[in-house]
Symmetry: C2
Subunit: 174 residues, 2 copies
């Protein structure tokens, strides 16, 4: 499991034209749903898209190379459910679910990328997509995950060192 | 990896009085830092506590059984860094890091629980803790993860079925 955690990366390239079997997509969705949620409100729902016609429509609305070329997409929907103390954990809920799915995708030999800013930047097109899929208005599209086999080289984000971000028993203590 | 994803659960019981080796804590922290972050802002920092004196002080401030009995705690700190488009992804960032750490903790044979509402409910005590640890004011305590071996039985949250939360090619399509 640690191998998968450390090798997972955000893939922004083109995907190969190989389908993702339903069995794999189902396992990825199950991994997402297995994540915890604040006060167990389960505010995250998921729609996997592997229908070529629907992929084409989404690709026309969201014309980005790792969406257009992906053989499957996972749409992560959120309901802003109020939990204990009047707090709303929907961002934490979908993030935990997304992280589980990113690991599952990587473990199965596929690549993905957490597309969220891009979704927010294209809110109007995304609203069209959720409407097309029949989602009620209280289900908001939070994140899109493309899923498929990479057709380009993987790259890794430049990250701060362990010593700059993690310590023992005190701030900046090593 | 899927085994770990599916067997992880939120543990609210007492911990055994067995220490968590530094090697294991380091691996858990590394798993947390390996999570992606919005626009790679890396807004999450981590402090692991395994010093008995500090654990005692924290236990006096946060008198909750799975904090008081835990042989180690991980404090998840956030900086509210502004990313592209003026958006701030700190909640998503720490949630992805927490999810990776929960899986790492489970994989190594320990238990934990995502304590966030409790942290918010005890903001004053938490501010004392971060001050005691020397964290600057722009590092906010978001989540506490206790780490240790369970001394009570594990329980599992009652969750909605797959069919109620995940579909293919359309809302509530199976």
């Amino acid at each position: 499991m640690f191998d998968t955690i450390f090798k997972r990366t955000s893939y922004r390239g083109l995907y190969k034209d190989f389908p993702v079997p339903r069995e794999d997509l189902t396992l990825i969705l199950k991994a997402g749903l297995a994540a915890p949620s604040g006060c167990n409100k389960q505010s995250t729902s998921l729609i996997a898209i592997d229908d070529k016609e629907i992929l084409k429509i989404i690709g026309e609305l969201l014309n980005r190379k790792n969406i257009v070329s992906a053989p499957a997409l996972i749409l992560v929907l959120s309901q802003k459910i109020i939990a204990n103390g009047g707090r709303c954990y929907y961002k934490q809920d979908f993030s935990a679910a997304v992280q589980n799915m990113l690991l599952a995708i990587c473990e199965l030999g596929y690549e993905s990328c957490w597309l969220e800013g891009y979704v927010a930047d294209n809110a109007e097109s995304c609203a069209k997509i959720t409407k097309l899929l029949g989602a009620p208005e209280d289900y908001e599209l939070s994140v899109i995950l493309p899923v498929g086999m990479a057709d380009e080289e993987l790259t890794y984000a430049n990250k701060k060192s362990f010593e700059e971000r993690a310590w023992f028993n005190g701030f900046r203590n090593s």
